[in-house]
């Protein structure tokens, strides 16, 4: 039996604000006599909003009220009520996420997007969402190639490498079409990072300077700057030799994966400027079109410009609506919990067949690191688990976990366990036998997460068999392995 749910994706970016609604179809795909296996079998964008300029009060503040008005109006046009939504993601991306009131704005919008929301994204997740939304992930799965998606927005460029449909690396650079804004042939804004870059490159250009498309020194400077930006992008995907410019422009991390992409796809607002011709290059009052032109003319990217991103401008928002949510395994266990559960930090532990007896100790140690002195902090315990454990091993694991989490459970925390191996139900039942019926327990499987991730769990679906899950990778990967 099929069941379909409606998901919202809302992206408030540096330059634009967009909304999509998509329909996710879930279905039990397993056959007769088999344990149920509920999967998302279809994802379809059913409504695309207009693309709006992100309303700002100043360069430091988002106009939250104006954003809300835009979205409410789009809901009305689409004929969608908040109560129709089962899941959704509001994300603030790029430079906008660094605005002073970003978090309050997202929180204020949460109610519009239904109960189950990714509140903030962060550069790594943004890269992944854009790459999935642009079709790069699907392309890598289909072709088996290493596909890099570069999502160039107003303030940042989010890069994601995919191999066989899976994310292998991400990066983010402070490069975008709106680092410099122009109005009436006058420069009205230069981002702080760009100011630093201009100083570094010894290019003299400041807010208030006149710039004319018909010629002059300053337009040449802008063209030089966009050429530099293109060069940095080429460096970032290993097409040309790396310089310290790349390091200077990185947001949080660069690509570490060893290998040059077979295919590069471009998405984001600037991607459209690569493929299209414009009469007025300051049509969008920024350097986006010049930047796009520079990429189109670059020698490094020339062989890659095949135009195969299925979404450009809307890649991130489609990614947010379609790909942020997944469903847990279908044999899981939970009791006494109120959903959704949001923003729970993940504590990762390894479990092997021969070291279960020291599991409690290791959980305590790793939990300590994540809690960082906060005694009453809710955590999610994650592990790859053991593929086919014996009954004895399940009992042992349950014993060790309940022992390690004793204080948390007493404090009223949910015992939240996320296992990758298909053992969630057996482990959950073994844990319930130890804790009784009153304690809140969630034990899900077939979800992989790691140290540094955060997890959201939504309301049960498919008559309670599965839980929708969003794993958010927010923290820089360099801390991995702690």
């Amino acid at each position: 039996m099929q069941e379909s749910i409606l998901s919202a994706g809302i992206d408030i970016g540096t330059s634009t604000t967009q909304l999509i609604f998509s329909r996710l179809v879930i279905e039990n795909v397993s056959g007769f006599g088999m344990i149920p296996k509920i999967e998302i079998v279809k994802k379809e964008v059913v409504y695309r909003s207009n693309i709006y300029d992100t309303p700002l009060i100043s360069n430091e503040e988002i106009d939250g009220e104006a954003v809300r008005r835009i979205l409410e109006n789009e809901y009305k046009i689409a004929g969608v009520k908040t109560s129709d939504l089962s899941t959704g993601a509001v994300i603030i991306t790029g430079e906008t996420s660094r605005k002073r009131n970003a978090r309050e704005v997202v929180n204020a919008l949460s109610e519009l997007a239904g109960d189950f929301v990714v509140a903030t994204a962060g550069p790594d997740l943004e890269s992944v969402l854009a790459g999935r939304g642009s079709g790069a992930a699907a392309l890598s799965e289909k072709t088996g190639s290493l596909v890099a998606n570069i999502d160039i927005g107003g303030g940042t460029s989010n890069i994601c490498y995919f191999k066989n449909g899976k994310v292998v690396d991400t990066a983010c650079l402070d490069i975008g079409g709106r680092l410099i804004k122009i109005n009436n042939e006058r420069i009205t804004y230069i981002s702080d990072k760009m100011k630093g870059f201009l100083k570094k490159k010894n290019i003299h250009l400041s807010e208030g300077d006149r710039v004319s498309l018909s010629g002059g020194e300053n337009i040449r400077k802008l063209i030089d700057i966009t050429a530099c930006m293109t060069d940095i992008l080429e460096q970032s995907v290993g097409l040309v030799k790396k310089t310290d410019d790349l390091e200077f422009m990185k947001t949080n991390k660069l690509i570490e994966y060893d290998g040059i992409p077979d295919i590069i796809t471009f998405s984001g607002g600037v991607a459209d400027c690569i493929y299209k011709e414009y009469d007025d290059e300051f049509k969008f009052h920024d350097i986006g079109i010049l930047f796009g032109k520079s990429i189109a003319e670059s020698t490094g990217f020339k062989d890659y410009l095949t135009g195969n991103a299925s979404e450009t401008m809307r890649a991130t928002v489609v990614g947010a609506g379609n790909y942020s949510m997944d469903v847990s395994g279908s044999t899981i266990e939970y009791q006494n919990c109120r959903f959704p559960i949001k923003n729970i930090p993940v504590v990762y532990v390894d479990i092997a067949e021969n070291d279960i007896d020291s599991l409690a100790e290791r959980i305590k140690k790793n939990a300590e690191a994540v809690k960082d002195g906060e005694k009453h902090k809710q955590i999610a315990l994650a592990s790859k688990g053991i593929r086919c454990p014996s009954f004895e091993q399940i009992e042992q694991m349950a014993e060790q976990i309940t022992e390690a989490m004793k204080d948390d459970i007493e404090d009223g925390s949910i015992l939240l366990i996320v296992i990758q191996a298909d053992i969630g139900k057996s482990l959950g039942q073994a844990i319930k036998r130890r804790l009784g019926r009153d304690k809140p327990v969630v034990c899900i499987d077939s979800v992989s997460c790691k140290y540094g991730d955060y997890i959201d769990i939504g309301e049960p679906m498919s008559s309670g068999k599965v839980l929708p899950v969003v794993v958010k990778t927010l923290i820089f990967q360099t801390e991995e392995g702690r």
């Binding site: 007769f32 006599g33 088999m34 344990i35 088996g144 066989n164 044999t331 266990e333 593929r387 086919c388 454990p389 014996s390 009954f391 004895e392 399940i394 191996a421 298909d422 053992i423 969630g424 139900k425 057996s426 959950g428 039942q429 073994a430 319930k432 036998r433």
Partner: protein, 254 residues
């Protein structure tokens, strides 16, 4: 000469792959990751190569052995249960007389009645079925997990036992004999080339001689190669609870 003889059945079929003459090895690897079927194993003209050929024979022999061998008495002893047998007197007879594989002589019925707790909510028993190795491979993890799970839910579970030369429809005799509401037959399933230790659970409400085949709820493919026994057990616990609550099983359940 090397003393060591390699056991060719140890390698997973998913790792047996022949890339010679393959233009895109990455794609073949992806296909291999999705199925344990015998694809991408190379060929010589129209024939198998030596290793895949030997492996095929070995797997087929294991499957055939699984059907024809007896469950060792030591295995039953280790499980700590008593043993009865159906009307069949040998494996051969069980295969040729399915009708005898589902009924018992009087003395065997008497043993069951004497040794078992009467009127349990759930009666669980084990049968060799078409796969003897499945008993030793799965019951030690499967059974205690089901039992513990049911007991936690305050469901009474009867005395377990082993039936030699067993077919699924023994449930039609055993349920009325013991007054069990639900019977759960854990029985070896017909082996294939991939696994020769898989087990199924046939669960039914109010099993009786005139019941329909469609009243069985089945969970199949229980083995370390398929659904891990402990996870299958947890699922079976929930199924049994649902069946007890709704007082029906099989296709009537959905």
């Amino acid at each position: 000469m090397s003393e060591e003889i390699r056991d060719i059945t140890q390698m997973s079929m998913m790792d047996m792959v022949d890339y010679s003459g393959i233009n895109n090895p990455d794609e073949l690897r992806k296909l291999k990751e999705r199925t344990p079927a015998r694809i991408g194993i190379g060929h010589t003209g129209a024939r198998y190569k030596t290793l895949p050929m030997l492996r095929f024979l070995a797997d087929q022999a294991a499957a055939s052995d699984a059907v024809f061998t007896e469950v060792d008495e030591a295995v039953i002893k280790k499980l700590g249960v008593f043993e009865v047998k159906t009307k069949c007197s040998s494996k051969y007879e069980m295969l040729t007389r399915p009708d005898w594989g589902r009924i018992f002589d009087e003395d065997q019925k008497q043993i069951i009645k004497e040794k078992c707790v009467a009127n349990p909510q759930v009666q669980i028993y084990f049968g060799d079925g078409l796969c003897s190795p499945s008993i030793g491979a799965n019951i030690p993890d499967l059974y205690p997990a089901i039992r513990k799970g049911l007991e936690y839910e305050n469901v009474t579970v009867g005395t377990p036992f082993f039936v030699r030369y067993c077919r699924v429809n023994t449930a039609r005799t055993i349920a009325p004999l013991l007054g069990a509401k639900v019977t759960c037959t854990l029985i070896g399933e017909r082996p294939g080339l991939l696994t020769s230790e898989s087990m199924s659970a046939y669960i039914t409400y109010n099993a009786r001689p005139d019941m329909l085949e469609s009243e069985y709820t089945v969970v199949s493919n229980i083995s370390r190669h398929g659904i891990p026994p402990v996870e299958a057990a947890a699922h079976i616990v929930d199924l049994i609870l649902e069946i007890l609550e709704k007082k029906k099983s099989g296709v009537n359940l959905s």
